[in-house]
Amino acid sequence: MKIIKIVAFFLIVLSFSCTKMDIEPLPLPTTQKIFSVSESKVTDGQDIYFDLPSSGVYILAFIDIETGQVISREKFNGKSGENIKKIYTKSIISKYLYLTLSSEDNAQISKTKLTLN
């Protein structure tokens, strides 16, 4: 019985040691500011963090990198300092997007590249 347990243990160890390690891009750390990195991999419903210089109306937009078309846009009231928003991806056909942050008069403040998971 003891021998069987030992053999089983080694088989388990062996199976893990033979498993291929897939190297995936690391997801954005939960509190990483989205516009502080040039590129991120995001998932549906993920929170994004970003700072605003002052309170007011701002606009977030998704731009399809391939076509240059704006495909989704949200106007919101932001607060000064750190803001948290969710982003959704289920309705999006494209895989590669720009995320832009603009003021209410459409002056771009920040931009980063997103890859949808």
């Binding site: 989704s72 959704y88 289920k90 056909i93």
Partner: protein
């Protein structure tokens, strides 16, 4: 002076420009049959007085295949070859005319082994002072002035010929040795073999085999390396006085070799070419062409589908079908992908078993009575009228009209068109041919009597049913129904609907001004969405119903209800006046015949779609007078329109609603129609409605398709336009509490159409 040089260069280049070897089309030979026609290679562009060097070779061939030239007048066989007899390779010299005459008499003899028969012909102007070895495809230039071995070796490397750098000749086979002995009369010719590094260790000293060890000891056969050619004279090489380090052939006028010291002054030969197969030759001004025939019936069926420029062909695959007992069924379960160029080859999926049903073949044998009459050739209709005494037919052939093929001794063996049957007279057929029968040259001349306006044939007839291939079809399959739905959404859009309305409106009170908007019969065919061979209000109504989401355009969304397939020739022949009489139904199975008389069959099939009024996703007709419609519809692929309008998308959470606003800015365009596809996450949002802010009385539509809203406006009569105040508010209720909405909705396909029916690209800002 510069101009003169330029003109001279142009003239020289012109002289060389037109020289070529053309090859015939592929064909299939009968197995185990001699003297089958393989003509069709033609040399052209060479000077008629120049002596050419030509090589004919079987590059790939099954065992038992040879060729023969029946006519060799004016030709000389190159060294090592004879003109007569069956061959796998032959090198000849002669004028272009004499070589072409010979090539026209080229015959293939086949064995029982099925396979590809690749024939190659190469030609060049026969260079003076050079010899061509047809076995390895190399040229050899003898240099008669004597020099040392090392001098010959160095001098050879400084020469080039037809783009190839020369090297001191190497002798690597008995045939090459014999070639040199036969063509170069001098004795003691240096060739590239030396033991200057290690006495007695002879190595090849130049060319592609340089460094190859030939033998490891002096002596005629001592140390000879197996598989490497050696041909030393008796007692040689002997390394006399340790100074004889270099080899000569034709020693003392014989074909064998000796070793000599470098202070001998001998002639030498420069060799050009590094390949072992003549068909790999890369000489400049050396013209070559080839054709791949086959031995045995290798029936092929290849398709070129033309989907137009906005459809990704790789989203479709095919299956081969055959028609048996009034039913279509697949020949195999194999599914073949259509390539990005619209090509697919279903050769391996064909059902090649033949069945009766292809008519009757009438064949002659020598007889005593003139049962057959051939009337004089009808030049106007390019045909012969042929009568078979009906007594030969009656009681033997139940239906004489089934005669579809006729073999008349060696005069004709091919298709005929049945004309008439008189049980008390003649059964008549027509042979359509541009070449008149060779009565005088027939081997059956004794059976043929020339009458006044006719020929009488002493012949008996036998009749046999003609076996033919089953009717085949190629079935196109959409790899994904979802992708097909998406594609079809982009095929029939607001532009198609508006264009249909515009054409109908401009047809005039009595419809006799129709065709002012549509430039092609295909547009009428596609706009006739109910398929009743009439394009009218019912069709535009259905199109509008489809656009506005009231009802689908076709009974089912399956490919066979959406796609129209036509042979390219049929498609090109569809006009605005004849479209009603053509095949206009949708289908995804395209029938084709293998009984074409050819073994290599290529079918060109054009694709169009019901409702594709502007032909944005359809093959273009290749006929003069049909202008390409400049409109392009929504597509997952790149559009090439230049006209553009702007739109703005803005989303916002207001109260407990998510509201997406689309605002139109027509810029300078007179926009009469818009169409937007707004996708939404139906797990997070519930669609409520679309609010339209539009001037005039357009038909506004906002259809929920489950995970997208198709919305827009259409002014069917173009009486007003959509201006900058046009706005669409799409209102959703979140299914759960949310404080963000970015990405819950997204815009994908967009389109607008102007008053002229031109599609406009909508730029979303």
């Amino acid at each position: 002076m510069k101009q003169l040089v330029t003109i001279l260069l142009l003239f020289i280049s012109f002289l060389g420009f037109g020289q070529s070897v053309s090859a015939p089309d592929s064909k299939s030979f009968l197995q185990s049959t001699t003297a089958q026609d393989a003509s069709g290679f033609i040399l052209s562009g060479f000077s008629s007085t120049a002596t050419l060097l030509a090589s004919i070779s079987l590059v790939e061939f099954p065992t038992g295949t040879t060729f023969v030239l029946n006519t060799t007048t004016g030709l000389t066989a190159a060294s090592g070859f004879t003109l007569s007899g069956n061959k796998t390779r032959l090198v000849i010299t002669g004028t272009m005319t004499s070589i072409n005459t010979a090539l026209a008499s080229l015959k293939i003899n086949t064995g029982s082994v099925v396979g590809n028969v690749k024939l190659s012909v190469a030609a060049t102007i026969n260079p003076t002072g050079f010899y061509y070895n047809g076995v390895n495809g190399h040229f050899y230039k003898p240099v008669t002035a004597g020099t040392t071995y090392t001098g010959a070796r160095a001098a050879s490397l400084l020469t080039t010929f037809k783009g190839q750098t020369g090297y001191l000749v190497t002798i690597t086979s008995a045939s090459e040795n014999a070639f040199i002995f036969a063509n170069v009369p001098q004795a003691n010719i240096w060739f590239a073999a030396t033991d200057e590094v290690v006495d007695g260790r002879w190595v090849i000293d130049a060319g592609p085999e340089k460094g190859t060890v030939m033998k490891t000891s002096n002596g005629q056969t001592a140390g000879n390396i197996v598989g490497v050619y050696n041909n030393w004279a008796g007692g040689e090489p002997n390394g006399y006085n340790h100074s004889e380090d270099y080899a000569v052939t034709n020693w003392n006028g014989q074909s064998t070799w000796n070793d000599l010291s470098n202070n001998w002054s001998n002639p030498y030969i420069i060799e050009y070419g590094t390949w072992t197969n003549p068909d790999d030759a890369t000489f400049t001004e050396f013209y070559t062409n080839s054709v791949s025939h086959s031995n045995g019936e290798v029936l092929t069926a290849k398709f070129n589908f033309d989907f137009g420029s906005n459809v990704d062909e790789t989203k479709f695959s095919t299956k081969a079908n055959r028609y048996v007992n009034n039913l279509w069924s697949t020949t195999t379960n194999t599914s073949r992908a259509i390539s990005g160029l619209g090509k697919v080859d279903i050769t391996n999926d064909l059902d090649t078993a033949k069945v009766s049903g292809g008519g009757t073949k009438a064949s002659t044998t020598s007889g005593q009575i003139e049962w057959c009459v051939i009337y004089n050739y009808d030049v106007t209709n390019q045909r012969y009228r042929i009568g078979i005494d009906s007594r030969e037919v009656s009681g033997i052939l139940s239906d004489p009209s089934t005669i579809s093929n006729l073999q008349l001794f060696d005069l004709w063996n091919g298709p005929v068109t049945f004309n008439s049957y008189d049980p008390n007279g003649w059964t008549e057929v027509y042979v359509y041919t541009q070449t008149q029968f060779n009565f005088s040259g027939s081997s059956f001349a004794s059976n043929i009597r020339s009458g006044n306006g006719f020929y009488g044939l002493q012949a008996e007839f036998t009749f046999s049913p003609i076996q033919s291939y089953k009717q085949h079809g190629i079935d196109i399959i959409a790899n994904s129904q979802t992708e097909l739905n998406t594609l079809y959404s982009s095929i029939v859009t607001v532009t198609d609907v508006y264009l249909a309305f515009k054409e109908l409106a401009n047809g005039g009170l009595f419809g006799n001004e129709s065709g002012n908007e549509f430039t092609s019969g295909i547009q009428f065919m596609n706009a006739d969405v109910d398929g009743n061979r009439l394009f009218n209000e019912a069709d535009t109504y259905k199109l509008l119903q489809y656009l506005t989401g009231v009802q689908p355009l076709t009974q089912y969304p399956a490919l066979t209800y959406l796609m129209k397939l036509h042979s390219k020739s049929d498609y090109d022949a569809i006009t605005k006046s004849n479209w009603k009489t053509q095949f206009i139904a949708t289908r995804s199975l395209f029938p084709f015949s293998l009984n074409t008389g050819a073994l290599n069959n290529t079918y060109n099939v054009n694709v169009t779609w019901v409702g594709d009024v502007n032909l944005s996703h359809s093959a273009q007709q290749s006929v003069s007078g049909v202008t390409t419609n400049s409109v392009r519809s929504m597509s997952v692929k790149t559009n090439s329109v230049s006209n553009e309008v702007n739109a703005l998308i803005m989303g916002e959470i207001i109260g407990n609603k998510v509201i997406v606003t689309l605002s139109l800015d027509p810029l300078q365009q007179e926009v009469v129609g818009t169409q937007f596809q707004l996708n939404y996450d139906n797990t997070a949002l519930k669609f409520e409605k679309v609010e339209f802010i539009t001037k005039g009385s357009p038909t506004n539509f906002g259809t929920n398709r489950g995970s997208s809203i198709m919305l827009g406006s259409l002014i069917t009569d173009g009486s007003t336009t959509l201006d900058k105040t046009t706005e669409y508010k799409i209102i959703f209720t979140p299914l759960n509490g949310i404080n963000s909405m970015l990405g819950l909705t997204s815009i994908s396909n967009t389109e607008a159409v102007n008053k002229n029916g031109i599609q406009l690209k909508v730029k979303i800002n």
